[in-house]
Amino acid sequence: MRFGDPIQVRFAGAGGQGVMLAGVLTAEAGMHDGLHVVSTQSYGPEARLGAAKSEVVLSRDEIVLPDVRVPDIVVCLSVDAYRKHGRPLAGGGVRIVDDRAIPPGEEPDPDTVVLPLIATARGLGPGGELTANVVALGAFVALTGVVTEASVRRALRHRIKPALLDQNERALAAGQALAVPERV
């Protein structure tokens, strides 16, 4: 693993973009991978407006601090979220940002991977935009290897209603595919 231990991950986006679920899926996948995990998330109005976040700490040992201060990996799905939660990033970390979430005219930092996450989700058919979080999760898995694909799939089966499972599994795959050329 290219990151230290513990690994700190942050998902950020607008309320309704599913960043909470992305965090929980990551944590649960980490658990299936045999890691200790802690996940936290925004609450209250913050969670419902433009810059919500969820965070996961993963470690081989018992986790001391549950909150994330300088994440190793940040995933951003909205402009507001990018502005508020996109920084800081640990040295050697990765920032995965939707291509529409970079504020117009701004140049992303060099440690940033810009991907069409939401556009890819939309391309998955009706209701597809609701799976942007899982597309992002796929990219995250492919780019960082922090959790295994198998464990993410197991977490998906546990957390996603059967009727929506197929679409989410396709979103995961699409995210992974999207990220392959960018593998870091």
Partner: protein, 370 residues
């Protein structure tokens, strides 16, 4: 192994402990406990009700307890403040029940989504008059489950309202845990005829025997009011306080490196995690630090703290407030070692480094003096 939230662990612990009544009122960051209980209780034929306010929630819990149900409510600071009158009533009437207070930044509406440990003194002293009190806390999601069960058990054993202090971080964070089945203390029915409802810790619910009286006025062993008999009240209060203070199952704590510690850190709840991290850091540097993590805050473990303080060079108390549990620590240590307080009310957790630095400062001072 499951990934669950602190609030969910609390609800699951309550169910495991036999809780069959929950009354609550929405408040961040405790609300999810209520939401879980709303789902978990009906299939077990337990009662869930959302009341009109926190005062009514605790009132309903006490009413349910006298109906024979193990009962709980959960709230946060503002609601806990509102519950203080009925908390005193529960103590006066020796009513077993559990009150969860998930602490957030305060005072007042404060920092509603951020963690704090600012209700530690309130949990003991928030209601008027003297009373016996048991106040517990926890530092991991697994502990939340286990301590919730302990809260019910102690509540039944000592016939007291037991307060469980969580915080916004612990309530909302998810951790991977195993939830074992744990021993449960059942409510003890009267041993025989001539039962006096306030003579001991046996309990009879309304409708389960001869009629009796429950009142928040000072009262006789029969329950009948003795509103101007002071000596009787004094006796009953001292008895109830002595029960918990002389018990051997009330004080719960966990130690790290206490055997050879020269520097004692006292911490509890979410802060104990940071403190454990600090001990790791310090030990790596060769500083003999030890952690006393208190799960029972009240009755305050005076003797334990005193004995430990006598064995170390200094004591650091770390807590997410501006100086609360440090007061009984200082009283208990009584000069046996210098006590330093590390507090904050900014809605943030201590990093292990911050606590380690405080210990190092006392250590440096030692060195400078030597």
């Amino acid at each position: 192994m499951k990934l669950i939230q602190g609030n969910e662990a609390c609800a699951l612990g309550a169910m495991q402990a036999g809780c069959r009544f929950f009354a609550g009122y929405p408040i961040t960051p405790a609300t999810e406990i209520m939401e879980w209980m709303a789902r978990l209780l009906p299939p077990e034929r337990g009662v869930f009700i959302q009341m009109e306010d926190e005062i009514a929630a605790l009132a309903a819990v006490i009413g349910a307890s006298w109906g024979g149900a193990k009962a709980m409510t959960a709230t946060s600071g503002p609601g806990f403040s509102l519950m203080q009158e009925n908390l005193g009533y529960a103590a006066m009437t020796e009513t077993p029940c559990v009150i969860v207070d998930s602490q957030r930044g305060g005072p007042s509406t404060g920092l509603p989504t951020l963690p704090a440990q600012g209700d530690v003194m309130q949990a003991r002293w928030g209601s008027h008059g003297d009373r016996a009190a048991i106040v517990l806390t926890a530092s991991t999601v697994r502990d939340v489950y286990e301590v919730t069960v302990a809260a019910f058990n102690l509540s039944e054993t000592y016939r007291l309202p037991v307060v469980l202090l969580l915080d916004a971080m612990l309530s909302h964070m998810r951790e991977n845990v195993e939830l074992p089945s744990l021993p449960v203390v059942s409510r003890r029915p009267p041993a025989g005829p001539g039962f006096q409802p306030f003579a001991g810790t046996e309990f009879q619910a309304f409708g389960d025997g001869a009629p009796f009286v429950v009142t928040g006025l000072a009262h006789a062993a029969s329950g009948r009011p003795r509103a101007s008999d002071g000596p009787n009240l004094d006796r009953m209060l001292r008895r109830s306080i002595a029960r918990v203070e002389t018990a051997d199952d009330v004080i719960r704590y966990r130690g790290i490196g206490l055997e050879d510690a020269e520097h004692l850190i006292i911490a509890y709840g979410i802060t104990a995690r940071s403190a454990a991290g600090a001990v790791q850091l310090l030990r790596r540097e060769g500083v003999r630090a030890g952690l006393l993590e208190l799960q029972t805050l009240w009755p305050f473990p005076e003797r334990l703290v005193r004995v430990l303080a006598e064995q170390v060079e200094d004591v650091v108390v770390a807590e997410l407030n501006l100086g609360q549990l440090v007061l009984p620590v200082r009283a208990a240590v009584g000069g046996a070692a210098p006590v330093r307080h590390l507090g904050r009310a900014d809605g943030m957790l201590f990093s292990p480094e911050e606590i380690a630095a405080a210990v190092r400062t006392t250590e440096d001072r030692e060195v400078a003096r030597a």
